[in-house]
């Protein structure tokens, strides 16, 4: 993906009503990531320039919060809940099976760029433990056996 020009970050800021200043750093980073899937080095510098916050500080913010990504993710993001209820009901096994199934480790993206696998703290669906989230869809009471079936639609049509 090509780097953006400052005008594009500015355009994003305008659409979101974000004025220059430190208050806009996180919303702007979020908007950039929402649109491009990650934050490139160039965009990081542009956010710093637009907000007037030193680029070192912006980098500090990006690496502090777990939401931000400095590398492009796969087409579909799989998040495996590692909350308490999920932990005691087998989330570790779900994660292990997904790693096996996709041939990647947690935090990695498949070679074809289709899936990125991440584990998250808690999806807040504890009654449906163990739970996973693929893009914005939550799947509950996940079993090892059900995983291939859950992944299938994302594999075929490339998902939604």
């Amino acid at each position: 993906m090509d780097a953006l020009s400052l005008s594009q970050v500015e355009g994003t800021a305008e659409r979101k009503n974000l004025v220059p200043g430190s208050l806009s750093v996180i919303p702007l980073l979020q908007a950039v990531q929402e649109r491009f899937g990650y934050i490139s080095e160039r965009q990081l510098e542009e956010v710093a320039e637009y907000t007037g916050v030193p680029v070192s500080t912006v980098y500090g913010v990006v690496t502090f919060y777990s939401q931000f990504r400095l590398r492009p993710p796969g087409r579909h993001l799989i998040r495996v809940c590692q909350g308490t209820a999920c932990h005691v009901l087998g989330a570790g096994e779900v994660l292990a099976t997904l790693q096996e199934e996709l041939g990647i480790c947690e935090g990695e993206t498949t070679g074809d760029g289709l899936f990125t696998l991440e584990s998250v703290r808690c999806l807040g669906c504890c009654s449906l433990a163990p739970a996973i989230m693929i893009d914005e869809a939550t799947h509950g009471r996940v079993t090892r056996e059900a995983l291939p079936e859950i992944l299938a639609p994302y594999r075929v049509g490339g998902g939604t």
Binding site: S22, Y65, R121
Partner: protein
């Protein structure tokens, strides 16, 4: 709400995950094609998560039938037999379920009843009446007084008296003040704030507006986790609708009071639930807490007086103004008034979202409401308060749930996560799970929190491998006490709690790990061995293809054998064995 026939479909995140969306669509289509005079609407979480997807049919006279775990065939039957035929389908209904019997719903009164995206429905239930009353009939001092009298305390975990917090900010004379709603529900195992935002978002906005009036703020922020997209969407709609109706914005109810709200999405940092870290995050910085005083009520967001209240705390506020402080204070105990919402999960028969009067014994929650431990297993402990809380052993099941009683056990009420643990749960593993969480989420500012938790984690890892010496347990406790004493914020001050409570109540389990290499719950993989019992094995070979590492091979006779060196202890062979011929052994017998 009365006089019309309606169908409510629970459409919170958990309902959707359980398949409620196709149920809603099918119901709408069926009602449409048959031309039935019935309103089909989405509602928030009913709390009965173990029965999702849930559908409730309300007759014109108010009679209700609650249907559970529905699929398409069941929906069609309900349409044909109940909606058209007029006879409720008893076998699909929940029936007389004790789940709701001992609950008192204040915060959750509208969840699962109204369409969360309809301002009209919220208003029909008395919504925004409390704000109107506050603005037109009460002084800001009067509002603070009422909340103080109610005895409401912070529901996010701190338990600080809400009225006191408001009066401190109200006493500050500053041209600008801020009202912040903390919806950064980060505790694993807690989802009540998500459910309230998804099921009754206007209630939180109304609570914020009332608080803002009481302290003299004109600007508010809701700081909400980015992991809750549906809650953000519904809150966003609610803010827009409230603005449109003149319930947010300039000169509300024709008074001089103006108040508006913006959403700030969190970016994934547990520590931002701490108020000074949350403020830093809104200001666009790394979410590191700072030393207090000055407290936010004096110098908060952008150096202005700021009040930060949790979602559930604010959701109580309109109810208190509508029904009076006395009625609220009528529920609960001497020091803990009102109700508390808990997310009941883990190894429990009926998991879900419950609201109970403060003071109910833990055992009543687990057995009367939750239906006891799943699969008839033995209750071992209840984990309360997430990573800041502790594990309360089954022997203390009669301890009442209130701020002081729980604190005495070493746990806390916390935000309300309640995870039931059974005999198959290893307490060393649970302690490690929470410490791993807080260790990774430590912002790194305080040395004890940054390094102390790391050293504690390493000790727990050694125990899980059966290493270390018995004296290490006391070293672990000592270090834990130091982390608590020398950390600036709530994260470090509470991070050792899961370790301190498990070493206090389950010390023998730690000792067994270290001394005998024994994990009684058979969870710690370095301390267990899978063996096939040659007597009971029928040589069906079902387990062989299940093994991911090919560790199962033909034994000397008509039975299979597991190569202990290759085995990764995943347990798949045991799960699939129809003859229970696979034993998991631990401790000295392994040798």
């Amino acid at each position: 709400m009365t006089g019309r026939r309606e169908i409510r479909v629970g459409l919170a995140t958990c309902g959707i995950a359980a398949g409620a969306e196709p149920v809603l669509e099918l119901l709408r289509a069926e009602v449409d094609t048959r031309g039935l005079n019935v309103v089909v609407k989405p509602v928030g979480c009913l709390g009965m998560c173990y029965n999702e997807p849930l559908v409730e049919v309300i007759e014109r006279d108010g009679a209700s039938t609650l249907y559970r775990r529905l699929d398409e065939a069941a929906v069609v039957r309900i349409v044909e037999e109940h909606l058209v035929g007029g006879a409720p389908v008893d076998e699909l209904a929940v029936g007389d379920d004790p789940f709701f019997r001992d609950q008192v719903r204040i915060v959750l009164e509208n969840c699962g009843v109204i369409d969360p995206e309809s301002l009209e429905e919220y208003r029909a239930c008395g919504g925004y009446d409390a704000l109107q009353r506050a603005l037109t009939e009460m002084s800001p001092e009067g509002v603070v007084e009422e909340i103080t009298l109610s005895g409401l305390r912070g529901r996010g975990g701190g338990g600080f008296p809400t009225g006191k917090k408001w009066s401190l900010a109200a006493a500050e004379s500053a041209p600008i003040k801020y009202m912040i709603c903390n919806a950064d529900e980060g505790d694993p195992g807690a989802f009540m704030d998500r459910s309230v935002l998804e099921g009754d978002p206007h209630r939180v906005l109304e609570g914020m507006a009332i608080a803002a009036y009481a302290i003299g703020a004109s600007r508010g922020y809701v700081y909400v986790r980015a992991e809750y997209p549906l809650a953000i969407r519904r809150l966003d709609k609610a803010i827009a609708a409230a603005r449109q109706a003149g319930l947010l914005g300039e000169k509300l109810f024709d008074t001089p009071f103006s108040f508006d709200v913006a959403i700030k999405e969190g970016a994934g940092a547990f520590v931002c639930g701490e108020e000074t870290a949350l403020i830093a995050s809104i200001e666009g910085r790394r979410g590191a807490p700072r030393r207090r005083p000055p407290y936010p009520s004096e110098s908060g967001l952008m150096g202005r007086p700021t009040v930060i209240n949790n979602v559930e705390t604010l959701a109580n506020v309109p109810w208190i103004l509508r029904h009076g402080a006395d009625r609220f204070a009528g529920y609960g105990t001497e020091g803990s008034k009102g109700t508390k919402v808990f997310a009941l999960a883990g190894k429990i028969e009926r998991s879900g979202l419950i609201e109970i009067p403060m003071g109910m014994p833990i055992g009543d929650i687990v057995y009367k409401i939750g239906g006891g431990v799943r699969g008839g297993k033995r209750l071992k402990a209840v984990q309360m308060g997430g990573p800041s809380g502790g594990c309360i052993p089954a022997s203390l099941a009669d301890v009442p749930v209130d701020y002081e009683s729980l604190k005495a056990t070493g746990a806390i009420v916390g935000s309300g996560g309640m995870i039931v643990l059974d005999e198959d749960t290893c307490m060393v593993d649970v302690a490690r799970f929470f410490l791993d969480f807080t260790q990774k989420e430590s912002c790194g500012k305080c040395t004890f929190c940054r390094i102390g938790t790391k050293r504690m984690l390493e000790m727990l890892d050694r125990f899980r491998r059966g290493e270390g010496e018995l004296e290490d347990i006391d070293r672990l406790i000592e270090l834990g006490e130091m982390v608590k004493a020398h950390s600036l914020c709530g994260l470090g001050q509470t991070a050792p709690n899961p370790v301190l409570t498990t070493t206090r109540y389950f010390r023998e389990e730690y000792e067994a790990h270290i001394r005998d290499g024994e994990c009684q719950a058979r969870v710690c993989r370095d301390l267990i061995t899978f063996r096939i019992n040659a007597e009971t094995c029928r040589d069906c070979k079902l387990c062989v293809p299940q093994c991911p590492v090919g560790a199962i091979a033909q034994g000397a006779g008509a039975y299979q054998m597991i190569d202990e060196e290759t085995c990764v202890r995943c347990g798949r062979c045991r799960d699939v064995c129809p003859f229970s011929a696979i034993d998991v052994v631990t401790g000295k017998v392994r040798a």
